[in-house]
């Protein structure tokens, strides 16, 4: 009997080792391409994935003197900043309404609110392009911002609602018992408590906006090139080490954003909620 137990335990150890190996392989798979990009951004070779010709910062120098990329960066930040602000305000408002009230047609509105998350971006891009073209709107930064708000409202609402679901309503009642008016209750009690959710939603919206290529591509016009559009045309025209440098810089920025969101979530005392 002792030997059977020992055999079971040995098999268990073997399984857990296999799991560890799988975990390591998984992380190598996730980081291998990224490391390749960063390493080759410092390669002196003129080829994006060429043999090692020594360490060089040349590609970073050309990147930072590239005016088109500067313009694209500015456009990206304008689009992401404005669309994040608008969608965070609207998304938080609608999240409060959806968590607190029951009303006629709520189920249908709930479906409408979730649909932009589910629909593939190419379909949404096509819809918006047709809408703008048939409405004879001039495609510009404005049309990009309108489109980004249209998908970001839903993402912000989902994140804020997750936060509101844990909200203890008696805290608001306590504030009102102490003669706080409605605005004071919201400003001093509700808002601070759901702030981590709002910031998390805003961060998600900002990241999605910076990241978006397909919808931006369909709703942009001449002169409204954003960074992803720029990267796309650079890749299409021919792969150069300059893209490696740009990718590495953007990688650094997204690492910072992830860390920030992680700290926010920690401060909120919840596990990871952002998907």
């Amino acid at each position: 009997m002792g030997t059977i137990e020992a055999g079971k335990r040995r098999r268990g150890r073997w399984l857990s080792r296999l799991l560890t190996v799988h975990g390591i392989v998984g992380y190598v798979f996730l980081y291998f391409p990224i490391i390749i990009l960063v390493v080759f951004s410092f390669n002196a070779s003129r080829y994006a994935s060429g043999a090692w010709r020594g360490f060089s910062l040349e590609w970073y120098a050309t990147l930072f003197s590239n005016e088109a990329i500067g313009v694209a960066l500015k456009n990206t930040l304008v689009v992401a900043g404005v669309s994040t602000f608008v969608s965070t305000v609207f998304g938080t408002m609608v999240a409060l309404a959806m968590e607190r009230y029951r009303f006629w047609g709520k189920l249908a509105f709930d479906a409408l609110l979730y649909l932009p998350i589910i629909i593939p971006d190419i379909a949404m891009a096509v819809m918006l392009l047709l809408f703008f073209v048939l409405g004879r709107a001039r495609l510009s930064l404005v049309t990009i911002i309108i489109s980004h708000v249209a998908f970001n409202i839903s993402f912000v609402a989902v994140v804020v609602r997750a936060r509101l679901a844990y909200f203890d309503i008696s805290l608001e009642e306590a504030a009102q018992d102490l003669y706080a008016n409605e605005w004071q209750t919201f400003r001093r009690v509700t808002l601070p408590l759901i702030m981590p959710g709002i910031l998390g939603g805003a961060l998600l919206a900002f990241t999605l906006s910076i990241d978006d290529f397909v919808i931006t591509f369909f709703t942009s016009g001449p002169g409204s090139t954003t960074l992803p559009l720029r990267i796309y045309s650079m890749v299409k025209l021919g792969v150069t080490p300059e893209i490696n440098a740009l990718s590495s810089v953007m990688l650094l920025v997204s690492m910072g954003l992830v860390l920030l969101s992680f700290l926010l979530q920690k401060g909120g005392g919840q596990g990871i909620e952002i998907v």
Partner: protein, 304 residues
């Protein structure tokens, strides 16, 4: 916590909270959606515009073998991607969930970093690895080839000949369905891992111990206890991977080359080069319908 608005004042507040999002989603989402549906029954005008003569031609044209083949391939690529993500992602989620809490958070953080990195950049990285002059082929025709030829001079054996021949030419990796699948798995693996992780982490492990006390084998306690209890995570993860894979445009465009295309590329070309808006609308509507139906069916299955 949900309640009907009690006073006129509360009704006004509800309207105030809802109307900006309602307005935005109706004007810039619902209306364009209905517009696409309407246009998919229209006809292509002479100069690329839309003629409003009602017809089913665009949907009939979708059943042309050419498009059916692309559609079939798209579904298969999305399914294979989902299965690979599940087979790789579930054990990875299990691995993370069984670490001590401190290390668990660090691992989740490491999982999020590639996920929050720009999608184009992640796909571009695979272009560098897979293309004909990419990393794999540099190693294949360079380092491996010279190693083999040296080995051949040291130990003359007949096996070197075919190996040398094989490594003399670069591997055809770029522009295949395999390359698209690798790119999609890389892009959406965290989408599978996160919901699975959440499900495994919530798992009450005493139930597994109870099963093992009752002499259930490891396999049996996994199949009968762990798997059913973590099914919601598996369902959510599979949907999160399958849907974007089905509508993929960037990945097949960058890694599939000219030959391997998916339905997303068909939609793209109808709008950007062929300027056949009605047909492009019909194809996107079919894509959306398939996705919605797939999601609903899957949720039903998961619920049972």
């Amino acid at each position: 916590m949900e309640a009907q608005p009690r006073s006129r004042r509360e009704t006004w507040r509800l309207l105030f909270l809802i109307s900006p999002s309602f307005f935005w989603l109706v004007v810039f989402f619902l209306f364009p959606l209905l517009l696409v549906l309407g246009i998919s029954f229209g006809q292509r005008g002479t100069y690329g515009g839309v003629r409003w003569d009602l017809t089913l031609d665009n949907y009939v044209r979708f059943f042309d073998p050419l498009y059916m083949r692309i559609f079939g391939r798209t579904v298969i690529i999305a399914l294979v991607t989902t299965v690979i993500c599940l087979l790789a992602g579930y054990p990875l989620a299990y691995f993370i969930a069984t670490r001590p809490p401190g290390r668990r958070n660090a691992m989740l953080l490491l999982l999020m970093i590639p996920f929050w990195t720009n999608f184009l950049i992640r796909t571009y990285a695979w272009l560098l690895i897979l293309r004909d002059q990419g990393i794999i082929n540099i190693l294949w025709t360079g380092a491996l080839h010279s190693f083999l030829s040296q080995a051949a001079t040291v130990v003359p054996l007949p096996i070197w000949e075919p190996l040398l021949e094989a490594t003399a030419v670069s591997l055809k990796l770029f522009g295949t369905d395999g390359a698209i699948i690798v790119g999609l798995v890389y892009a959406w693996l965290p989408d599978m891992v996160l919901p699975c992780y959440a499900a495994v982490e919530r798992l009450d492990y005493s139930l597994v111990e109870a099963a093992q006390d009752l002499y259930a084998s490891r396999l049996k306690s996994f199949l009968r206890v762990i798997l059913p209890l973590t099914m919601p995570g598996i369902v959510a993860g599979s949907i999160l991977v399958f849907i974007p894979s089905l509508g993929a445009y960037v990945t097949p465009d960058l890694l599939g080359g000219a030959k391997s295309i998916m339905i997303g590329n068909v939609i793209y070309s109808q709008f950007m080069s062929a300027r056949d808006y009605p047909f492009g609308s019909a194809v996107s509507f079919v894509l959306m319908a398939v996705m919605l139906i797939g999601t609903l069916v899957y949720f039903r299955m998961g619920a049972e």
